[in-house]
């Protein structure tokens, strides 16, 4: 229908919008990271690559060296994210697997319960835990009465009785799991749900034990779903600052997002903030394109099917 120009013209407003407010905006981060600051500590972007000032970037990179402050924060971020993802997998896989295969007539209802948290404001879900874990809150009381608090104190995962919200890495990690696990479970559920179960039946017919059928067939077949879910929650976790701010409120649990936030929004070191943002983006770029590639491939496969 219509000429090719009709479709190009229709695309024009969207293309223009994304060019200015996404591409130019991102280039502004680069121009500021390689720019300077004026006497009022406001960033001065250098737009032309041949005029770039690498001074701030080198200073930023130096702070990643041996025990530098950015190294500590980055390692802590990676440590938090890796544990949070491992816990998400540990809880999320059985849930996704059960929902896809064994939920039976409850499947629809379970699925709704898995989706609803995605529809609830992230900050409201954090607020809920802040109410529960505050001193005297129902959550801290239950954790105390069940002996979980004592267990965590013994294991060194909690510093003081009732101090869940006082700068505890444990609380930040568990809050990250709580916040992002719904985004992990859903793509995993989709992947397991689409598996061809006749293969499993064939394996069992040929004498595979339930365990070996699971380890050698089901698990390898769910790897793409696991990876998609992991990437999907890794990206926002690396940019997260509000979770640590809300459930810990201590610089002792600062993640790289908190560091950027302090420079950009609160402090007057926007050039260093832009340099850190750029380094974070480069670090995550591989994951972003991996995810785009796999989703697009899944899309074309679905279209061909």
């Amino acid at each position: 229908m219509g000429s090719r120009w009709t479709w190009r013209t229709l695309s024009l407003p969207g293309v223009a919008w994304l060019s200015v407010f996404f591409l130019v905006a991102f280039y502004a981060v680069i121009a500021v990271a390689f720019g300077n600051q004026d006497t009022l500590s406001q960033p001065v972007p250098f737009w032309k690559p041949w005029e770039w000032n690498v001074g701030y970037m080198i200073d930023t990179l130096k702070n990643f060296w041996h025990g530098g402050p950015f190294l500590t924060v980055s390692l802590r971020t990676i440590y938090f994210v890796v544990i949070a993802i491992a816990l998400s997998l540990l809880v999320g896989y059985p849930v996704a697997y059960f929902t896809a295969r064994h939920a039976g007539r409850w499947k629809g209802l379970v699925l709704v319960a898995l989706i609803v948290p995605l529809w609830i404001n992230y900050l409201m879900r954090m607020l809920a835990w802040i109410n529960l874990l505050a001193p005297g809150g129902w959550g801290s009381t239950v954790l105390h009465d069940l002996g979980i608090e004592k267990l965590f104190l013994t294991l060194g995962l909690l510093a003081e009785p009732g101090g869940w919200l006082n700068g505890q890495p444990t609380t930040v990690i568990l809050a990250l799991v709580y916040g992002y696990i719904p985004f992990f479970i859903l793509p995993l559920f989709v992947a397991i749900d689409r598996m061809d179960w006749r293969q499993l039946e064939a394996a069992r017919d040929l004498g595979a034990s339930p365990l070996s059928a699971f380890v050698r067939l089901t698990l390898p077949l769910s790897v793409p779903g696991i990876l998609a879910g992991m990437v999907l929650i890794t990206l926002p976790m690396f940019g997260d600052y509000y979770t640590a701010d809300l459930v810990s409120a201590s610089t002792q649990t600062n993640m790289i997002g908190n560091q950027i936030d302090e420079f950009m929004r609160q402090g007057s070191e926007k050039v260093t903030g832009a340099a850190l943002t750029l380094l974070l983006s480069l670090f995550l770029l591989v994951l972003m394109f991996y995810y785009l590639r796999t989703t697009r491939r899944a899309g074309t496969q679905a279209a061909e099917a």
Partner: protein, 283 residues
């Protein structure tokens, strides 16, 4: 057969984990909603049921200027975001679906990038853009709307394109065979077929805008551009009263209603698809 379908031993074990997970993910939020109705100032001790934090004379969502301002500003941003992102997104989806030439691959990738970019990166980028490139716009309501449109645009494109793929080109071709001019094919054939997707995309945009936090916070200028999410962030730890739970509950009800509407419209897709399949066979 039952043994065969069950490689992990008793599925009861899995059922227990799943039930525990659902309990863990939903109950805290339900309790937070419950405390919005607390008849007292505590957010940890239940003191009886009341609507005082919603409609009471002091400190309630209805009468506290800061809470009311945040709610109004949130809805204002969401309204503008829908009005701008929906038409631009629908046009981009139509264009990208049919435009197969030089440059379309690049546009496709760039269109998907906002979906995978960590929000803090977008927040920083837009903040610097409005500080240094468009100081005339500056920070505030306009910048917040523009920022939200920039990433909700991708949602609109993805939803509308999904529907376009399932419609296929047959209806337009049939209309063309029957002599309909391009204008009629667009406005009397394609857009009506796309209507459910457009409604769903608008609803998702509305809810996403209401729940957005990072970009909205980075582009806010002062107290007058505070949204409900920003209020939750700034007062969750110090919050004096359950009024915070009350305003969060209002936001929750609005987004859940909007997304349920989107879901119901989306479900009509199935019957719509069946109808489309039947109609195609008729042609």
């Amino acid at each position: 057969m039952d043994r065969l379908r069950n490689p992990w031993g008793k599925p009861r074990f899995l059922a227990v984990i799943t039930i525990f997970y659902i309990f863990w993910s939903v109950v805290p939020v339900l309790l937070a909603v419950m405390f919005a109705f607390n008849n007292g100032r505590s957010r940890t001790t239940w003191q009886g049921f009341s609507f005082r934090w919603f409609t009471g004379p002091t400190g309630s969502v209805l009468h506290d200027p800061a809470l009311q301002g945040a709610l109004k500003h949130t809805l204002l941003l969401a309204g503008f975001c829908v009005l701008i992102a929906t038409p631009i997104g629908v046009a981009l989806a139509l264009g990208l679906q049919r435009w197969r030439g030089r440059g379309s691959g690049t546009v496709n990738t760039v269109m998907l990038l906002p979906l995978v970019t960590p929000e803090i990166v977008m927040g920083v980028a837009l903040l610097l853009l409005f500080l240094r490139v468009f100081p005339g716009i500056g920070l505030g309501t306009e910048a917040q709307v523009i920022g939200q449109v920039t990433f909700t645009l991708s949602y609109v494109v993805v939803i509308v394109r999904g529907r376009l793929v399932s419609i296929g080109p047959e209806f337009e071709e049939a209309a063309a065979d029957l002599g309909a001019p391009p204008r009629d094919r667009m406005f009397r054939v394609l857009l009506p077929l796309l209507a459910p997707a457009i409604v769903a995309a608008a609803a998702v945009t509305f809810a996403t805008s209401i729940d957005d936090f990072v970009v909205t916070q980075y582009l806010s200028s002062d107290a007058s551009t505070t949204t409900v999410s920003m209020l939750l962030y700034s007062s969750a730890r110090g919050a004096p009263t359950p009024a915070l739970n009350a305003i969060a509950t209002v936001g929750l009800v609005i987004t859940l209603l909007t997304l349920t509407l989107a879901f119901l419209v989306y479900r009509r897709f199935a019957s719509g698809q069946d109808a489309a399949a039947v109609a195609t066979m008729e042609v």
